[in-house]
Assembly symmetry: C2
Homo-oligomer: 557 residues x 2
């Protein structure tokens, strides 16, 4: 059996667009004489549709689109994901479903059994869990259809089974020799390798081929990397689709070596830097264009964060669509003008200079009477950031450009950023990139030639909101800060655990307390592009008004 | 059996504080010779703790606190909610649990069976569902313990059973003669009456007393109204706690009339206006104080929204803690100064005037070169709002005041508001109040004497961002707008359904399209106080980059 795996980039709710992509790739599979073409999870509507699922009309349009596919695609078996209605009186109203159809007839329908409800996933909010796990014999092959999470409960691989059923195991027991997994499995660093190991191990364990058809593209914060793949019954990878692009690959169950294999092993990123950069470029492009925009604006400070963001924007949308603005104040060092100008030349973006000094003076003059009692400080620093944010939003309004914010994850974590100031933006491009990784990406970009000026990479990071300020006056060294942040945010380690891990108790306490008390800023942050196991935003949900004190437990002496 | 129902206002994560409240009320129950005292759901940690539940130390501190309660409260049975660990290898790691203990001994432990995962609820994100429904005989009475949602799946009352089990029914079959329901059941308009009907009907149906112990207080957006109550086996209400305040009430199963009944029927709000006003005052107070603040600042425009917000703030925190700021521009009508000054006098808040004209001119002068090609418009309107927002944040920073934003639900729905401008704030006090209801609340406040000046209520609403602007130049009349918004947002009606309901198709299309395309603004909005069945924020989760077109389906002619 020759199987095509089509990884497309659907637009949520654009049924017509998605239908056309599906038909286009189904056509390719037909012309390659495939028996079966497999599309990703909820491909008809795009994943995740979130509360659009509560709209009856949305569900009906999705069902009507599926009907069109069933009637229009001929000469090949098709497996694809859609939203089905639960016909029972009892239970949640919808199913996350997959269908196998051929020449106008539905052969099998399957409901997703394992519904993820952690991190960015909310599937139990909408869907009733499926219960049936039956293989289906199609063209002599016993096919077992699973939907994403359905394959993620293997007791040999996962430390803890959070579900009480293993659909893959049940399908294998029912005789499945080809396990199909249609997915919308998001990217994070290391995820691709984890999937490969897991799918390979499942294939070996059950002596069944394993077909992984993943969504590709960015939908708000969530980035889907594609890397769809086929594993033979010995667990060997036999076809592999590109990462971060639409693609189609072919796998023949009976012909598992030779040209077919070589032609269908496409290039995927070799390093974390390469894949993260591709992820951010794709995520920026998809967010801007799926929102109906084509142009962006961002501020350049002369620092590395805005330089990286500008590079990503220029790659994502074309430099002609990126306006970069330099907004110096009295505290801005002279070299930053030269550095930003050179950067803009290197990446090819339009460059403007707007000084904020006169406005800043006017604000201080006006607000001073209210400030009799205390000395200038944070207030004036935030003022400068807010003036810049206001100027950028004026440019955004006037020219129909989405403003990109340029803050990194380390800053956002400890609140070293100004709400309604440098946090302004429709998309926070690098808000899930720790500062130390910002440097790695900059070096990666400069591997062949200097695109980001070396002086930008080499200078000490500074907010430049008061004289001679550097980040290191206010924060621990970034390598230490980032390690503590990873422990606390991604690995959910408590203060005691971090201190046992060798970090200084005072620094740990300071960092954790900053993270906790700046939750209110992140609550109002722009969506960011998720590339780690735990990003701020939708997948990390903390109360704001709370007094939990996750501090070091003082041992009695 | 004499039962005390204690409704307390826990602070999320402040175990020591919550413990002390519990012990204080347990003491009251002991001195009133009660056999049993009942506290609310997750009372030990406060509800909802959200992702704090992923922190191991948080769970341990909650268990340690429960142990202290079990060891320290003597001479009475206690039922209270806490987070338990799931000891099994399989399934989610936690339970949402209740315990019945007495004199240092646990008599029964119960795990919540029905885990809500809709609107603001995310319980299946954290908890494994309980399966057991057994009554427990305590002092000769068969007690059936349920936790909030456990009592919300009665097939006679709810249109659709979304769960496959009815714990109340199973407990009644197991002989329960007293159904205890510990809850963290949020307020919305009409919810109290719905609960009363449902609990009364359950009591009658199973001929069992029904005890409802609810949390009270505001936790971020979610407001808990209390109104704990006891129903006898005939469904008659026999004890009722106050709304929006801590309270304790007593109910004796054997003595169901006379003085005990009268003394334990406390006052609750008689009208929607009364309860919503109490809800907003409590929510504002709790948000500000639980965040560790005592003072607030807000802008007064001369309009009714900011007037209502200022009144609520003064009631919540004391007028001495509220700074009100009037920030006129060239487009501000003269009468607004008099109106706002009078309002501030009436409610007793400090009042400042800061004109934004000189800053506005400076911004326009500076940014003009970038604006060669087009005429002034929305950009300049937004600029004014952002200058005001920046001034207010400067005051907030400088004086340690939380900024309250003053936008109503109708504005926020259609995006008639400026991101990083008038949307600035730590809390959006009236963001779930439609404009038409803002007027009702103002009239309710003025019932006995004029607090909000009549001229503020009577003037035509205006953003005052360009000459002679009124809201009605840009928006449909508010009564029509609010009806369409309720249909679309709260009742999830599609365009066709709204048009069949009698609304003008063009207006429906315009309103729906505005709601959809302004999702990005609301994504970055301050948390608001939820008083309707569907508020913007945590309980309404829409993708930003999507192209679903919920428009009127054009019928073929």
């Amino acid at each position: 059996m020759k199987i095509a795996i089509a990884q497309i980039n659907p637009v949520i709710g654009d049924f017509e667009y998605n239908l056309n992509r599906i038909k286009y790739y189904a056509g390719k599979a037909v012309s390659s004489s495939c028996d079966l073409v497999v599309f990703s999870e909820l491909v008809v509507s795009g994943y995740p549709p979130r509360d659009l699922l509560e709209n009856k009309d949305f569900i009906e349009k999705n069902l009507a689109s599926l009907s069109m596919l069933i009637n229009e695609i001929k000469g090949i078996g098709v497996i694809c994901g859609f939203v089905d209605k639960n016909p029972d009186d009892e239970g949640k109203p919808l199913y996350n479903s997959a269908v196998l159809f051929e020449n106008g007839k539905i052969l099998q329908k399957v409901n997703k059994r394992l519904l993820p409800a952690y991190d960015v996933f909310d599937e139990s909010r909408y869907f009733e869990a499926g219960t049936e796990c039956k293989a289906y014999t199609y063209k002599g092959e016993n096919i077992g259809i699973t939907i994403c999470e359905d394959a993620w409960n293997d007791e040999d691989i996962l430390r803890k089974k959070i579900y009480h059923m293993d659909p893959v195991d049940l399908l294998a027991r029912d005789g499945a020799s080809v396990i199909i997994n249609i997915s919308a499995s998001p990217f994070h660093i290391g995820k691709k390798e984890f999937r490969w190991n897991m799918f390979s191990s499942i294939a070996r364990k059950y002596k069944a081929a394993f077909i992984f058809a993943n969504q590709v593209g960015g939908n708000d914060s969530i980035l889907f990397d594609g890397t769809s793949s086929a594993f033979d019954r010995h667990g060997k990878i036999r076809a592999l689709a590109r990462d971060f692009e639409e693609d189609i690959i072919f796998y023949d169950n009976e012909e598992i070596s030779g040209r077919l294999f070589e032609e269908n092993t496409h290039h995927v990123s070799g390093s974390d830097s390469e894949s993260v950069l591709k992820a951010l470029i794709m995520g920026t492009r998809d967010y801007v264009t799926k929102c109906g925009f084509s142009k962006v604006v961002l501020g350049l400070s002369g620092g590395i964060d805005s330089a990286l963001t500008a590079f990503i924007a220029a790659r994502a949308l074309g430099p002609e669509n990126v306006l970069t603005v330099f907004m110096p104040s009295a505290y801005t060092s002279k070299e930053n003008y030269e550095d930003t100008k050179k950067l803009a030349e290197n990446i090819g973006t339009r460059f403007e200079l707007i000084s904020i000094d006169s406005i800043f003076k006017e604000f201080v003059r006006l607000i001073a009477p209210s400030f009799k009692e205390s000395e200038p400080g944070i207030t004036e620093q935030n003022l400068q950031a807010r003036i810049r944010g206001t100027i950028l939003m004026a440019l955004s309004n006037r020219e129909g450009r989405i403003l990109l914010s340029t803050g990194n994850k380390s800053e956002l974590a400890v609140g070293y950023c100004t709400l309604y100031g440098d946090m302004n933006g429709g998309l926070a491009v690098i808000s899930d990139i720790p500062k130390t990784f910002v440097y790695e990406l900059a070096h990666f970009i400069n591997l062949e030639k200097e695109i980001i000026p070396a002086s930008i990479i080499d200078k000490a990071p500074s907010a430049e909101l008061k004289p001679d300020q550097t980040d290191q006056d206010d924060l621990p060294p970034y390598d230490i800060l980032d390690s503590i942040l990873k422990g606390y945010i991604e690995d959910l380690k408590g203060a005691d655990e971090l201190v046992s891990g060798g970090f200084d108790p005072e620094i740990v306490e300071d960092v954790i307390s900053r993270v906790d008390r700046n939750e209110y800023k992140r609550h109002q942050a722009a969506p960011g592009l998720k590339v780690t196991t735990k990003a701020f935003g939708y997948g990390r949900r903390y109360p704001l008004a709370q007094r939990y004190n996750n501090r070091i437990i003082k041992k009695d002496s």
